[in-house]
């Protein structure tokens, strides 16, 4: 499965998840910080679960702690595909 996944697909899942968590879709850009989007540790724990389910990528709490922006998250997940 992972061989067919592209960074664009990862981005789409991340953006959809952030929207589900309550972030304003118009503010969800690659440069947007999670802080600005009001995305906190509980949201990132949920995002980790979704990413695991969708792409088989396991993110640890320490990985996610370093992630500050939407682009950071997409890059980190894509690098583990």
């Amino acid at each position: 499965m992972s061989t067919a996944v592209t960074a664009e697909q990862v981005e789409r899942v991340v953006v959809e998840s952030l929207h589900t968590f309550g972030a304003d879709p118009e503010q969800i850009t690659p440069e947007a910080t999670f802080e600005a989007l009001d995305i906190d540790s509980l949201d990132l724990a949920e995002l980790s679960q979704i990413v695991h389910e969708q792409f088989g990528v396991e993110l640890k709490g320490s990985d996610v702690a370093e992630v500050k922006t939407v682009a950071d998250a997409v890059e980190l997940i894509s690098s583990r595909l």
Binding site: F21, G22, D38, L42, E46, Q49, H52, E53
Partner: protein
């Protein structure tokens, strides 16, 4: 001791959104029970909170948020200001919220995820949503309440115990104001099956407290919150005072996990303690809001208890059950009924016990069958305070009684 006053109330119940809906519709004889349950069908959480807040809250917390918003607006706390609308330093405002069960719907979702998909699919929001103190935590965050905040749990007496605990907190100077109340959202097949297994739930789905045909309680959901303030502080800020929380009494049956003492002694002790705490004689009470669950055991034991505690005066005052109109809101019941009692006292009205056509043998108090009527204010001093009691009794033998005075 400095009095504690009530300056705002809010409620979401099967009779609608708002304390006014509860009071006016109940007094008009409307019943919020449908298809054997008391659901808050008019409640839409997105009317009160963002999508993010809503998904961060189990329904019992959502109901509490809505009730608290109304109570704070009612108390005039919703303005802007250096303290975010609070008339006190945030450190001086507390929050005590009762719940009997907590976030049971969240627990069930998590259990489904575990069983159907595996442990890695259990939501990280499960614990923070299901925990019984989630409502108190959400209110403290939403309104920047930095004083003591916690949940209390005593099954169907939780709401009354929460208000009583808040009274003590204020009397001991731990806070200048406290948001106190109760919340419950347990209308799930599991809770229904579990209460049915105890023969506690009405198989016919009718709430008819004190009636010969009563066959159990009808489960409901909802929340109520009261804003309690120390009297001097409230008056100094020019607050409109709705009433005084005169007293609180609590006791335990120490008898049985679910059944009350048949002689009502434990419940009577709580009534007596509330009167003593209020410093009033039983003869001064003008109205009693009964626990009145519509179960065979409760209504009989409670009738004994009221007679034990009030003597002959028990037969002279109206005694009615809010549960006849909304069902049993479990951990929210005591708070919802305190609000209903206060507003009834304010309007000098005795709300009705609906569905009651033939009282059971031996149940011979004035239960205000069928329709409301003006409240006769008795007592030695016609000009004296207008007082009422509100009874709450929980599984586990927990008894809590509030004594309220209308402004």
């Amino acid at each position: 001791m400095e009095p504690v006053v009530i300056t705002g109330v809010g409620a979401v119940t099967p009779l609608g959104v708002g304390a006014r809906a509860l009071h006016e519709r109940w007094c008009a004889g409307e019943c919020g029970i449908s298809a054997g349950k008391g659901a808050c069908t008019e409640f839409d959480p997105t009317d009160f909170m963002s999508a993010k807040e809503a998904r961060r809250a189990d329904r019992f917390t959502q109901l509490a948020i809505a009730a608290a918003d109304e109570a704070l607006a009612d108390a005039g706390w919703d303005g802007d200001g250096a303290t975010g609308g609070l008339p006190y330093a945030p450190e001086r405002v507390g929050c005590v919220l009762g719940t009997g069960i907590g976030g049971i719907a969240t627990l069930l979702d998590a259990q489904d995820a575990l069983r159907e998909r595996g442990s890695q699919f259990v939501s990280p929001l499960s614990v923070p949503l299901m925990m019984g103190n989630a409502g108190a935590g959400a209110l403290s965050m939403r309104h920047n309440l930095r004083g003591p905040s916690f949940a209390v749990s005593s099954a169907c007496a939780s709401g009354a115990h929460a208000i009583g605990s808040a009274l003590r907190m204020l009397q001991h100077g731990e806070a200048d104001a406290v948001l106190a109340g109760g919340s419950e959202a347990g209308l799930t097949p599991l809770a229904r099956a579990a209460f049915s297994a105890l023969d506690a739930l009405s198989p016919t789905g009718v709430s008819r407290p004190f009636d010969a045909r009563r066959d159990g309680f009808v489960m409901g959901e909802g929340a109520a919150v009261l804003v309690l303030e120390r009297d001097e502080r409230a008056r100094a800020r020019g607050a409109r005072v709705l009433g005084v929380l005169r007293g609180y009494g609590a006791s335990s049956d120490a008898h049985h996990l679910t059944a009350p003492r048949e002689d009502g002694q434990g419940q009577a002790a709580a009534i007596g303690a509330a009167l003593a705490d209020a410093g009033v004689a039983g003869e001064q009470i003008a109205y009693l809001n009964a626990h009145g669950t519509s179960t065979p055991l409760n209504d009989r034991a409670e009738t004994h208890a009221i007679k034990l505690a009030l003597g002959e005066h028990a037969g002279r005052i109206p005694v009615s059950s809010t549960k006849s109109a909304i069902g049993h809101l479990l951990g929210a019941a005591g708070a919802v009924e305190a609000v209903a009692t206060l507003l009834a006292l304010r309007d000098r009205i005795a709300p009705p016990t609906l569905g009651l056509s033939e009282p059971d043998a031996g149940l011979d108090l004035d239960y205000v069958a069928g329709s409301a009527r003006p409240l006769a204010v008795r007592g030695d001093r016609p000009e004296g305070p207008v007082l009422a009691l509100s009874n709450s009794f929980g599984f586990g033998g927990h008894n809590a009684v509030l004594c309220l005075e209308a402004a």
